[in-house]
């Protein structure tokens, strides 16, 4: 079994109103010097295979087809 983590983040230049709101809230809590906050998503997956190359190929397809909207989001894949 392979454990994988997929991280999905907004592309540069895409406005992130939720990140902005979090940035404001952190400032209100007294945390100074925050340049920017961008919110993203993390998916932890367990794949029933031992083949790392296949796992990576499958994960890439999952990201392209469902986990990320590549119009506005980037994704990265890491295997444990």
């Amino acid at each position: 079994m392979i454990k994988a983590r997929v991280t999905v983040t907004l592309k540069n230049g895409v406005l992130d109103p939720q990140g902005k709101a979090i940035e404001g809230a952190l400032g209100a809590l007294g945390f100074d010097g925050i340049g920017q906050v961008r919110q993203g998503k993390v998916f932890d997956l367990q794949l029933e295979t031992a083949d790392k190359a296949k796992a990576e190929a499958d994960l890439k397809a999952m990201c392209e087809k469902l986990l990320a909207n590549t119009v506005i989001e980037n994704y990265s894949i890491s295997l444990a």
């Binding site: 230049g13 895409v14 406005l15 109103p17 709101a21 469902l66 119009v71 506005i72």
Partner: protein, 223 residues
């Protein structure tokens, strides 16, 4: 003209849409469940609004991968008219049938109110009942209607007349780029819009400004 309304778990505007299509065309639409792989022979397919799959992952993302969407894609390629309203619009962009993406409202708030819409392109199968630049009223009710497209896509859709509706008179409720409220595909047979024209079609609604969209798409514009 015959129409169909797509039904998916979590959509809740289907009954309003069925009522609107029935009243305007005189014929009840057929309903198509998400698992169906073939769509009956119709002239207009409507994906109504709601919260398909609880808006999990991204609004419309899971619905867009259901079997019925492959059937809708095939029909759209044949030239059948497809209209997506609200969550239906989100599903169409997630399915790649329309350009761009719909993001969380800039205010981060769910907005439920009436807005003004400018008919930017009246030369479409969906807007022939209106005049260019005409401003109509329509209700909106959404949390993720903030239309986004990259600079290149934006240039293309603006240049091709694919921007069909814009929020007018400072009523943009969600921060959408260029005040875009509705876009169509390059071929002109698939339209997505955030506002709900089906909720403004008769006196009991307080107006009938939305009627023209269905009258156009169903070829029943009054002479």
């Amino acid at each position: 003209m015959k129409s169909a309304v797509v039904q998916l778990p979590g959509l809740n505007r289907d009954r309003d849409m069925i009522a609107a299509l029935t009243k305007i065309s005189g014929k009840a639409p057929v309903t198509v469940w998400q698992t169906e792989t073939e769509i009956p022979d119709v002239d207009l397919i409507v994906i109504p609004g709601g919260f398909s799959y609880g808006d999990y992952l991204r609004c419309g993302a899971i619905a867009a991968r259901m079997p019925v969407m492959q059937a809708i894609k095939a029909k759209a390629e044949q030239g059948v008219r497809v209209l997506g309203v609200c969550n239906g619009f989100q599903i169409l962009v997630e399915a790649g049938l329309l350009p761009g993406a719909l993001m969380r409202n800039a205010s981060l708030k769910f907005v439920c109110r009436e807005v003004k819409l400018e008919v930017v392109n009246p030369e479409t199968a969906f807007t022939r009942a209106y005049a260019k630049g005409q401003v109509i009223r329509t209700p909106v009710a959404h949390h993720d209607g903030n239309y986004f497209a990259d600079a290149e896509t934006l240039k293309t859709i603006e240049g091709n007349g694919q921007v069909v509706f814009r929020y007018a008179e400072g009523t943009n409720p969600n921060g959408s780029i260029n005040d875009i409220a509705g876009v169509m595909n390059a071929k002109g047979n698939v339209l997505g819009m955030m506002p709900h024209p089906e909720n403004l079609i008769e006196v009991a609604h307080g107006g009938s400004d939305g009627r023209g969209i269905f009258a156009s798409a169903l070829d029943v514009i009054a002479a």
